[in-house]
C-alpha cells in the first residue's frame, strides 16, 4: 500500500518533478559556465520568482474554474496594488496597515466585479477581465497624475529584503502560501467545489455545489493576491510605475502551465506553480549569463514553454480535452 503510494506520487507529479529537475540542471549549468555552483544564485532566482509565484497562484485559481477562464486583470491589479500601497504608506510604517486594508478592499471590489460579469452577465472570463484591466489602467493613470511618493516604509522594505539563514523571508512566506492553497484545494469543500466546477460546471451545479459562491471567492482571492503582489513588488523596486504589472500577464499563465495546472480547468497544482515560476526566472538568468539579448531570451522562454508542454503531455494520465462543448 505504502509502496504503491510513492509510485503514484511520482506518476502524478511526473511533469513537476521534471520541471524541478530542469531547474536544477539550469542552475548547475549556470554554475559550471558562470561563477561556480553556488546556492546563492539559486536563492536569488527563487527570490525574484516569489513575486511571480504570488501572481501565478492567483492565475491558477481562476484558470481552475474552467471553461477557458483566465484572469487578464492581474497585471492591472498588480500595478494598482503597487500604487495604492505606496501612496497610502507614504513611507511611514504606521500606515502599512491602512495601506494593506486599501489594497485588500480594492482587490475584493475588482474580483467581485469580475465574478459578477462572469456569473451574471455571462461574459467569458478572458474578455470580462480584459475589460476590467482597461478600467483599472485608467484608475492607476489618475492616481499617477498626483503621485510623488518615492520612499518605502522600512518594515515593508524589510519584509521583502530581510534574510533568515541566507534565505529571504519572502520565500518562506510564499512557500507557506502555496502549501496553504494546496491544502485548501485538496481538502476543503471550497477546493472540491472549485475542482468540480472546473471539470464540469453543469454537473457541479446539479450535484449541489455552490458554484456562484465558489467562483466569487476565487476571483476575489485572485485579485487580492495580485494586489498584494503589486504592493510587495513596489517595495522591492522602490516605487510604482505605470505598466509595472504588464510582464506578469503572460508570465503568470506560463508559470502555471509549466507547473502542471490544467488550462481547461479542474486540476490545479500550487507547488507546481512555485516550481514553474522559478523555472522561468532561471531560464532568463541563464540567458543573461550567456549574454543573450532580450529578443533571444523571449524566444528561448517561449520555446521552452512549448517543450515543457509537449514533454508533459505524454506523462499525463488523463487525455486533455480542449473543452467540453
Amino acid at each position: 500500500m505504502k509502496k504503491q503510494g510513492t509510485g503514484s506520487f511520482f506518476r502524478k507529479n511526473a511533469s513537476i518533478l521534471m520541471v524541478a529537475g530542469g531547474c536544477i540542471i539550469l542552475w548547475l549549468l549556470m554554475g559550471i559556465f558562470g561563477n561556480g555552483i553556488r546556492l546563492s544564485s539559486l536563492i536569488n532566482n527563487a527570490y525574484t520568482a516569489s513575486f511571480l509565484a504570488i501572481a501565478g497562484l492567483a492565475q491558477m485559481l481562476v484558470v481552475t474554474t474552467g471553461r477557458g477562464a483566465i484572469d487578464l486583470s492581474i497585471p492591472g491589479m498588480i500595478t494598482l496594488g503597487g500604487y495604492l500601497g505606496m501612496m497610502i504608506c507614504n513611507g511611514e510604517n504606521i500606515r502599512i496597515i491602512p495601506a494593506l486594508i486599501a489594497v485588500l478592499a480594492a482587490g475584493a471590489v475588482v474580483g467581485f466585479l469580475n465574478s459578477l460579469m462572469v456569473i451574471y452577465l455571462k461574459i467569458p472570463a478572458i474578455i470580462a477581465t480584459m475589460a476590467m484591466n482597461y478600467i483599472i489602467v485608467t484608475a492607476t493613470m489618475l492616481i499617477d497624475h498626483n503621485f510623488n511618493v518615492f520612499t518605502i516604509p522600512s518594515l515593508l522594505k524589510g519584509f521583502v529584503t530581510v534574510r533568515v539563514a541566507g534565505i529571504p523571508i519572502i520565500i518562506f512566506v510564499v512557500v507557506a502560501l502555496a502549501l496553504g492553497i494546496s491544502f485548501m484545494i485538496r481538502s476543503t469543500t471550497y477546493g472540491k467545489s472549485l475542482l468540480s466546477m472546473g471539470q464540469n460546471l453543469e454537473a457541479a451545479r446539479l450535484a449541489g455545489v455552490q458554484v456562484v459562491k465558489t467562483e466569487m471567492i476565487t476571483y476575489v482571492t485572485a485579485s487580492i493576491f495580485a494586489g498584494i503582489a503589486g504592493m510587495l513588488i513596489s517595495a522591492r523596486v522602490n516605487g510604482a510605475r505605470l505598466g509595472m504589472g504588464d510582464n506578469y500577464q503572460m508570465d503568470s499563465i506560463a508559470c502555471i502551465v509549466v507547473g502542471g495546472t490544467l488550462m481547461s480547468g479542474g486540476r490545479a497544482n500550487a507547488i507546481g506553480t512555485l516550481v514553474g515560476s522559478l523555472f522561468l526566472y532561471l531560464i532568463i538568468a541563464a540567458m543573461q549569463l550567456m549574454g543573450a539579448n532580450a529578443g533571444i531570451q523571449s524566444v528561448v522562454k517561449g520555446g521552452l514553454i512549448i517543450v515543457v508542454l509537449l514533454l508533459g503531455a505524454g506523462s499525463g494520465t488523463v487525455k486533455r480535452k480542449a473543452k467540453a462543448a
Binding site: 478572458i126 474578455i127 482597461y134 471550497y190 472540491k192 454537473a203 446539479l206 529578443g295 524566444v299 508542454l309
Partner: protein, 810 residues
C-alpha cells in the same frame, strides 16, 4: 457478387483489452446478407467495443474480419476504410455537429455524394430531404434548420436517415437508435429496417429494448463480459429467456438479481414538495403534494414540463418561491452522465462524496478519514467491479458510473432525490440494482421523484404525475399502472401541437446583430461630430486605424471557431511587419524566405497541437514569446521602410472607396467564402464535434493544419498591411491586437466553444473597438479615460448578448 450463402460478415476471434479491463475477450460472429442481428448484453458486455472494432473506430488487439468475401486488413483499418467497404454506424452518442444545418450535416458525412463545388448546397438539401422522408415520412424536419434548434428525437432521426443515404452501404450498425425516439417514430424506423432488410440490407441492432428486438430481429447474439453467451434465431428465444441469459453470471458469479418484495412505506410528512398553482414559463399552474416514502414517477411525452419540474425543485429548494414549498434537502441525479454527471478527473470516491461535501460549510476541512467514512458504506453496497474507491471514475462502465451518481445522492443523505431518466442506456441487471436503491431510499422515508422515458419503469413507482403541456393532467395513486390511461392523458390535444413544434420556425437574430449595431452607432456618432468621416478620405483615415485589427480578428475567428484561442496572433502580425520593413526591403530574396518560413510555422502549430493533444492556448502563448523575440532581435527600435510595391498594392487610387477599404472588404468576403465552402463546412464541423468528423472519415491533422494555415494567412496579411499603412515597422506595436481580436470575435457574436463564430461579426467588432477611441478623441475626453471606456463598452455590448441569448437558448 457474393454467392447467396456466403456470409456478409465473418468476424473471427476479436479481442480488445483496455488494461485492466477486457472489453472484448473472444468474439466470433457470422452475419448473412439480409439479417437483422440483434446484439444484446448488459452494459460493459462489450457490444459497443465490438462494433467500434469492426467499424474501424478503434483498433482491436486480435481478430480477423472478412467482409463481403474479402479479408480486411485490420492493421490499416479506420472509419474511412470501413465506409469504403460499406459499413456504417449510428453511434449511441449523437455524432452530429450542432453548429451546422441539417443538410450541412448530411454533406460532411456523405461527401462522396456531392461532387459540385458551386451549388453543392442545393444537392445536399435534396439528399437530406429525401433521406429523412424515406425513413421517417412526415417528420416535418426542415433541412435548412440549424441542428441545435431540433429536439433530441429529431436529431436522432437526422442521424439515422443520414446513414441510410449512402448507396454503397451494405451493413449498418445501429447502437441504441431508439433510446430517444417517440413511439410512432420508432415504429417507422422498424418498418424501414424490416423493409430494407428484405431488399438485402444487413443490420446489427444494439438495444436494451427487448420488445423491439423481438419485433424486428431475425437473429440474436447475446454478449456477456466480452464473450459470446448465446446466439440463435429469434424463434428460439423470448424476452424472458434473454433477460435470464443476460442476468446469469453477472457480478462475479452472484445469483441473478431479483427485485425484492416492496410495499409502499408510511408517508413521512416531514419531507415534502407541494405546489399550489405553481406557474413558470413552462409550467402552468400545477398543484400537487408529494411526501417522503413515495416514489413519484413523472411521465408524459418528452418535453412537456417534466424536466422543468425537476429542475425547479432542485434550484428553488431553500428559497422562498410563490406556489412551491420544499421541505427537506434535495439531490439530483443526472441522466446524461457525461454532460451533467461525472467528474472525469476524479476517483470514484471523490465523485461519490461531492454532494455531501458541498452541503458542508464552504471552508470545512474534509479529512481523509471523513472521506472514507462517508463513502465506505455505499461503495460496498453498490457492488461495483473496480480496483476500489480510489480508482478513476472513467475506468467504470456507463452503468456503473450511473450507480455512482445515484449513490452520490444517497451518500449526501438527501431527503428528496430527483432522478432525470437515470437508466437510459443501462443494462437490465444494473437497472434492477438501481430500482432496489430507490426502494431502499423510499423505505427510509425519503421522497424519490423520478422522470423516466421508459414506460416499463412506471411499475416501480408508487405514484405517477402525468405531464401534458406544463400541466399535471393525471395524478395516479394506484399501485397498478394503467398504461392506457397514461397514454390517453399524455396524448390529449397532441396531434395539432406536434405539427406546430416541428414546422414552426422561429425567427432568430443573426449572431452579428449587436456588433453591427454597435459599429454603425459608434461610427454614426463620430460622423455627427466630424462629418469628414463620411467622405472617402475620412473612411480611409478610419480604415488605416482598423484594417490590421480586422485581419487579425478574421484570423482569430478561424481559431476560435475550432474552440482554440491564438494568443500569438498580434505578435505574429508584428513579426511579419518587421520582416517586411527590414529583411524584405534590404534583401528581398532572404526576406521572402523568412516570411515564408514564418508563415509555415502556423500549419506546423496546428499539426503539433493535434498530434500531441496539447492546449492550443499554451502553444500559441509560447509562440507569442518566440514571435516578439525574433522581431526584437531583428529590430530593437521602431524603424525600417516598407517596400514600395507593397504600398502600391494597398494605396492605388480606385473609384468610390480607397484601396485599403476594398482590401478589408475583400479579405472579409474571402474569409466568409472559405467558411461556407465544402471543406470550410467540414472545418466548422471540427469546431463542434471532432469525434463525429473523424468517424465520418475526415483527417484531423489535415483539418487542424488547414485552419491554422488559413488563420496564419490572415494574420500574415495583417502584418503586410501594417507595413503598408505605417511605412515602417514596430515589433511590439501589434501586441495588443491579440486580445482585441479575441474581443472582436466575441463581440461579433462568437463563442469560445462549439464552433459558433461569424467573420462579419468579427469585422464589426473590430471596427467598433477601434472607433471607440476615435469617438472619445472627437468628444475631447481625456485619453486617461479611453481605456476604461473601451472596457465599459465591451462589457455593455456583451451584456446585451444576454437579452438575445434568453430568446435563443433552450
Amino acid at each position: 457478387m457474393s454467392s447467396a450463402n456466403m456470409p456478409l460478415v465473418e468476424a473471427k476471434h476479436f479481442r480488445k483489452v483496455y488494461y485492466p479491463t477486457i472489453a472484448v475477450a473472444d468474439i466470433s460472429m457470422t452475419i448473412q446478407k439480409g439479417d437483422i442481428l440483434a446484439l444484446v448484453g448488459a452494459n460493459g458486455a462489450g457490444k459497443s467495443t465490438f462494433t467500434k472494432a469492426i467499424s474501424g473506430v478503434i483498433s482491436c488487439d486480435e481478430g480477423e474480419l472478412i467482409f463481403d468475401g474479402k479479408k480486411v486488413d485490420l492493421d490499416h483499418y479506420s472509419p474511412a476504410v470501413a465506409r469504403e467497404l460499406g459499413i456504417r454506424v449510428v453511434h449511441q452518442e449523437l455524432s452530429l455537429c450542432k453548429n451546422l444545418t441539417v443538410y450541412e450535416n448530411f454533406y460532411v458525412e456523405q461527401a462522396q455524394n456531392i461532387k459540385k463545388v458551386v451549388g453543392w448546397r442545393a444537392d445536399a438539401r435534396k439528399m437530406a430531404a429525401e433521406a429523412i422522408d424515406r425513413v421517417f415520412p412526415g417528420s416535418g424536419i426542415d433541412v435548412n434548420a440549424s441542428l441545435s434548434s431540433l429536439s433530441i428525437a429529431q436529431q436522432q432521426m437526422v442521424e439515422i436517415s443520414r446513414a441510410t443515404s449512402d448507396a454503397n452501404m451494405k451493413l449498418m450498425i445501429l447502437d441504441e437508435p431508439t433510446s430517444s425516439l417517440p413511439e410512432d417514430r420508432t415504429r417507422q424506423l422498424m418498418d424501414y429496417l424490416i423493409r430494407t432488410a428484405k431488399e438485402g440490407m444487413t443490420y446489427i441492432y444494439i438495444s436494451h429494448r427487448l420488445k423491439e428486438i423481438m419485433t424486428i430481429a431475425n437473429r440474436v447474439f447475446i454478449m456477456q463480459n466480452g464473450n459470446e453467451k448465446w446466439q440463435g434465431g429469434i424463434g428460439d428465444t423470448s424476452e424472458e429467456h434473454m433477460v435470464q441469459l443476460m442476468g446469469e453470471g453477472i457480478g462475479d458469479g452472484t445469483e441473478p438479481v431479483e427485485l425484492s418484495e416492496f410495499t409502499a412505506p408510511e408517508l413521512n410528512k416531514s419531507i415534502s414538495v407541494t405546489g399550489e398553482k405553481y406557474t413558470t414559463r413552462r409550467l402552468k399552474g400545477i398543484t400537487f403534494e408529494a411526501y417522503g416514502g413515495e416514489i413519484v414517477g413523472l411521465t408524459g411525452l418528452e418535453g412537456n414540463g417534466q424536466l422543468d419540474f425537476l429542475q425547479d425543485i432542485l434550484l428553488k429548494s431553500g428559497k422562498k418561491v410563490a406556489g412551491l414549498n420544499i421541505s427537506g434537502n434535495v439531490a439530483f441525479v443526472a441522466g446524461d452522465r457525461k454532460k451533467e454527471g461525472i467528474f472525469p478527473l476524479w476517483s470514484i470516491s471523490d465523485n461519490l462524496v461531492l454532494t455531501k461535501a458541498a452541503k458542508s460549510g464552504i471552508f470545512k476541512h474534509l479529512s481523509r478519514q471523513w472521506l472514507e467514512e462517508s463513502v465506505g458504506y455505499w461503495y460496498e453496497k453498490l457492488h461495483i467491479k473496480s480496483d476500489g474507491p480510489q480508482a478513476m471514475i472513467t475506468s467504470l462502465s456507463g452503468g456503473n458510473q450511473q450507480k455512482v451518481l445515484i449513490a452520490r445522492a444517497l451518500v449526501a443523505d438527501a431527503d428528496i432525490i430527483l432522478l432525470d431518466d437515470p437508466t437510459r442506456g443501462v443494462d437490465q441487471p444494473t437497472k434492477i440494482a438501481l430500482y432496489e436503491l430507490l426502494r431502499e431510499a423510499a423505505s427510509a422515508g425519503k421522497l424519490v421523484i423520478w422522470r423516466t422515458s421508459d414506460d416499463a419503469e412506471l411499475e416501480f413507482c408508487t405514484r405517477l404525475f402525468v405531464f401534458n403541456e406544463g400541466r399535471i393532467v393525471g395524478d395516479i395513486q394506484d399501485n397498478k399502472v394503467d398504461h392506457d390511461t397514461v397514454m390517453k392523458l399524455s396524448f390529449a390535444n397532441k396531434e395539432e401541437k406536434a405539427k406546430q413544434d416541428m414546422g414552426g420556425k422561429k425567427f432568430t437574430l443573426p449572431l452579428f446583430t449587436f456588433a453591427l449595431i454597435a459599429a454603425i452607432v459608434i461610427y454614426g456618432i463620430c460622423a455627427t461630430r466630424s462629418p469628414l468621416l463620411l467622405s472617402e478620405y475620412g473612411v480611409q483615415l478610419m480604415a488605416v486605424g482598423f484594417a490590421a485589427l480586422v485581419l487579425c480578428a478574421l484570423a482569430q475567428t478561424f481559431i476560435i471557431g475550432l474552440g482554440h484561442v491564438d494568443l500569438g496572433v498580434g505578435n505574429f502580425c508584428g513579426l511579419v511587419n518587421v520582416l517586411c520593413c527590414t529583411l524584405l526591403f534590404e534583401k528581398p530574396f532572404l526576406g521572402v524566405l523568412a516570411l515564408l518560413a514564418a508563415f509555415l510555422v502556423y500549419p506546423l502549430m496546428g499539426f503539433v497541437i493535434q498530434k500531441r493533444n496539447v492546449p492550443a492556448i499554451i502553444v500559441t502563448l509560447g509562440m507569442s514569446f518566440v514571435w516578439i523575440g525574433i522581431a526584437i532581435s531583428l529590430q530593437s527600435m521602431p524603424g525600417g521602410t516598407c517596400p514600395a510595391w507593397i504600398r502600391t498594392v494597398f494605396y492605388t487610387d480606385l473609384p468610390v472607396l480607397n484601396t485599403l477599404c476594398y482590401w478589408v472588404i475583400g479579405f472579409t468576403v474571402l474569409a466568409i467564402v472559405i467558411y461556407r465552402s465544402k471543406y470550410g463546412t467540414v472545418l466548422r464541423g471540427f469546431g463542434n464535434n471532432e469525434t463525429a468528423m473523424i468517424n465520418s472519415g475526415w483527417n484531423r491533422a489535415k483539418a487542424y493544419m488547414a485552419i491554422y494555415a488559413i488563420a496564419g494567412f490572415f494574420a500574415f496579411m495583417a502584418g503586410v498591411m501594417c507595413s503598408a499603412i505605417n511605412n515602417a515597422s514596430d515589433a511590439s506595436a501589434s501586441g495588443t491586437y491579440t486580445m482585441l481580436a479575441v474581443a472582436s470575435v466575441i463581440i461579433g457574436g462568437g463563442y469560445f466553444s462549439g464552433g459558433i463564430v461569424t467573420h462579419f461579426g468579427a469585422l464589426c467588432g473590430a471596427i467598433s473597438l477601434t472607433m471607440i477611441s476615435v469617438l472619445l478623441g472627437l468628444l475631447k475626453v481625456s485619453t486617461d479615460y479611453t481605456a476604461s471606456i473601451q472596457g465599459l463598452v465591451l462589457i455593455l455590448i456583451l451584456s446585451l448578448r444576454l437579452l438575445k441569448g434568453r430568446g435563443n437558448k433552450s
